[in-house]
């Protein structure tokens, strides 16, 4: 279907099903229950982040997963995309389409410039070059250095860029919503379905962003399977040999870098479309580091890995970081007092304000034991499961995880 082989089609359909039914899947517990209050993740703002960061990491994976070039400055393109989108809101109006187009284009232009320069080096030199560019852009945005030259705020520094009533908004119709919308369809309009103790929220913005995730995922499958994808993988396995055969890898690399930058720009534009305020901090190097972490955690070089990794990190950040000591005491109340205290004291440093510790530990474990990330973990489990059922062990663990 759509030029995909049956396995890829299944994967695509799986992703489509996942994003469509996410409001159900992410709300497994009744809304008012203790577990639901703690672990349910099916609310629009978080689901939006799942798909937007999924899209971002899919794009990053096209560069890192295929070519092995580790960009440590990808968040810069996300930030550029967001700034471009908010500027479109300010200048033209709240329709998201021009904003998304512009954010993708501007991020593309930046990635052409940075890519052209940074790709002249490889290995860690490339990483540090992208890092240097990104940090420079972050500094410029954070202190609004361009704005100081021009005399009017461009990035509006630390407070972040937002839309004011006094902005021109030349295309904003008189009756158009004063929130991001798609031809009148407001991004934050939603409908809630109550079933028993469960409540499921379906939001326009989420499905809008999810559409781009599916599109991005489809494109990434096509790129993985295209001759260009093959070329990029050749770069990863042995760039020198490739150039000996007379192939110029440079244009392919640049194309991969720019495509990946445009994915990031689109993701940034979507973030602005969901929430029309943007700040420089989403360009800081730790944000770039987070993208790398997501890709590795999910499984770099695999198709589905980036989506899983992004979901995992955002879940940790938004759900685990909110678990407080009294929640823990509630869950383990069934234990004898001394045991309860012990268990709570062991778990507590890892949740709530200590969620970074969980992140660090999990991340290290994955790198040490599962270099292929969660995808490899899943494959190992299925492989073991199948081996138990049948005697003929499949080669599941050895097939490249795609």
């Amino acid at each position: 279907m759509l030029g995909l082989n049956s396995r890829d089609t299944k994967l695509l359909l799986l992703v489509i099903a996942l994003v469509i039914f996410a409001p159900f899947l992410l709300n497994p517990f009744p809304t008012a229950s203790n577990l639901g209050e703690s672990f349910n993740a099916g609310y629009p703002a978080l689901m939006q982040r799942f798909v937007i960061f999924g899209l971002l990491v899919i794009g990053f994976n096209l560069l890192f997963g295929l070519t092995g070039y580790l960009s440590f400055g990808h968040a810069a393109f996300l930030g550029v995309g967001s700034f471009a989108a908010v500027w479109m809101f300010k200048l033209l109006g709240y329709n998201v389409l021009p904003a998304l187009v512009m954010s993708t284009i501007i991020a593309g232009i930046f990635s052409v410039m940075i890519g052209y320069v940074a790709l002249r080096r490889s290995g860690i030199y490339f990483s540090i070059l992208t890092l240097a560019f990104a940090q420079m852009m972050y500094s410029i945005a954070y202190s609004d250095l361009i704005g100081k030259f021009v005399g009017t705020p461009i990035t509006n520094g630390e407070t972040g860029l937002q839309v004011y009533a006094s902005d021109p908004q030349v295309l904003q119709g008189a009756n158009a919503p004063v929130l991001p919308h798609l031809f009148g369809l407001e991004m934050n309009s939603q409908t809630t379905l109550a079933m028993g103790g469960w409540e499921f929220t379906f939001q326009v913005g989420y499905y809008f962003a999810a559409f781009f995730l599916v599109l991005g995922f489809y494109l990434s499958i096509r790129i993985f399977r295209s001759p260009m994808g093959l070329m990029l993988r050749a770069i990863k396995s042995n760039q020198t040999r490739m150039s000996y055969t007379g192939l110029n890898s440079k244009p392919y690399m640049l194309a991969a870098f720019v495509i990946s930058g445009m994915y990031a720009g689109l993701a940034g534009g979507l973030m602005a479309a969901m929430d029309p305020l943007t700040g420089a901090e989403r360009m800081f190097w730790t944000a770039s580091g987070e993208i790398v972490v997501m890709a590795i955690l999910g499984g770099a070089g695999t198709l589905i890995g980036p989506v899983l990794g992004a979901g995992m990190i955002k879940y940790l950040e938004n759900i685990v970081s909110k678990i407080q000591k009294d929640f823990l005491e509630l869950w383990f109340a069934f234990l004898p007092d001394w045991l309860e205290a012990a268990v709570v004291n062991i778990i507590y440093p890892f949740v709530g304000k200590g969620w970074h510790l969980t992140l660090g530990v999990m991340f290290m474990l994955v790198i040490i034991y599962l270099p292929g990330g969660m995808v490899e973990g899943g494959q190992r489990i299925t492989a073991r499961f199948k081996r138990k059922k049948k005697t003929d062990a499949p080669d599941g663990a050895k097939t490249p995880a795609e």
Binding site: I124, L129, H356, M364
Partner: protein
């Protein structure tokens, strides 16, 4: 002119700090071929050795003083440090005063131990893995170390005063025949500068003039051959890792009076130290030192008023700008060798 001289001093002092951090990082690159993103964390552990030493010297017994009241109106609990009750108040205070320097007795063993455990327990398993994996696993380790420190010491910066003997400034100008007070510089920063120079010299001398150093240098150049000569190069490299950790730790320890340590201080230095190392050239020790000083001085000059008047904000991006220019004109950094870290 005076302003220029002060910024030159400042650049040297700043550069000394950069060079010291980059030196440890380069030692690890050069010998083990490992990209250590936890180097900033090692710097931080050193800084917290000072804090620990300070806390240790301030361990107190509590005496209830009925004559004074605390903020709730209860009798005030007065803390008397043990050092003061053991050695007498004057000697005790003197010992506490020098806690930053005394921390050296804690920092060196702790850092050697941390380095040893880290290399044997973790880094060793990553020699044959791609550099990306090394970066990431050490990055994860850095997060964990930071969180552990935060768990015990909190997130607030902790004040660690320098010995009172080094308070205030030294009038460099007068010493060199300029107008009095025109070029005055804090004594502690000069101490830091000479301390860095001493450590850098010591590391170079160690590698240059000892048999151990010779073997290590040989190992850096060609590990396999040295191994084939029957030398246990791995064991030596473990020791080198310990030394590198020590250098980072000492840099952090002495830096505490300048920058109050907090759990994230390592991350703040991480990016910078990598830029310094890459500009100097991966695996080149003289390159790391040179680029540390160069970037330090450039950064100081970039904050001169005459410069910022022309290009506002240049002081904030100069380091990255220079790094980009150098990497594009000299692909392997200032003094990098061919073939290092390019795969």
């Amino acid at each position: 002119m005076d302003e220029f001289l002060i910024q030159l001093l400042n650049g040297l002092d700043r550069g000394a700090a950069y060079a010291l951090i980059a030196l440890g990082l380069t030692l690890i690159f050069g010998t083990l071929g490992v990209v250590n993103f936890a180097h900033g964390a090692l710097f931080m552990i050193g800084a917290f050795c000072t804090v620990t030493m300070q806390r240790f010297l301030n361990l107190s017994q509590t005496v209830i003083d009925d004559t004074q009241k605390d903020f709730l109106g209860n009798p005030l609990e007065v803390e008397v440090p043990y050092v003061q009750s053991w050695f007498g108040e004057a000697a005790g205070l003197a010992i506490q005063d020098w806690s930053v320097m005394l921390a050296i007795f804690l920092t060196i063993p702790v850092m050697l131990l941390v380095g040893y455990v880290m290399e044997r327990g973790l880094i060793r398993h990553f020699y044959s893995r791609p550099h990306a994996d090394q970066i990431l696993v050490t990055f994860g380790l850095a997060i964990i170390i930071g969180e552990i420190i935060k768990y015990f010491y909190g997130a607030n910066p902790i004040q660690t005063p320098m010995p009172s003997a080094f308070l205030g400034t030294w009038d460099m100008g007068a010493a060199f025949g300029l107008e009095a007070n025109s070029v005055a510089y804090p004594k502690w920063r000069l101490v830091y500068f000479f301390f860095s120079a001493l450590i850098i010299a010591a590391v170079f001398a160690f590698l240059q003039f000892t048999t151990f150093g010779m073997v290590v240098r040989a190992g850096m150049a060609d590990r396999e051959t040295v191994g084939m000569l029957g030398i246990d190069i791995d064991r030596r490299f473990t020791i080198v890792f310990g030394i590198a950790a020590c250098v980072a730790g000492l840099a952090g320890m002495m830096y505490t009076p300048i920058l109050s340590p907090h759990y994230n201080i390592g991350m703040d230095f991480l990016v910078l130290s990598f830029v310094v190392v890459v500009v100097g050239g991966m695996g080149s020790l003289p390159g790391a030192v040179l680029s540390g000083f160069m970037l330090g001085i450039l950064q100081s000059f970039a904050s001169l008023k005459v410069v910022t008047n022309i290009v506002p904000g240049i002081d904030q991006i100069i380091i990255y700008l220079v790094a980009i220019i150098i990497l594009l004109t000299r692909p392997r950094g200032l003094m990098g060798r061919k073939g290092v870290m390019e795969d």
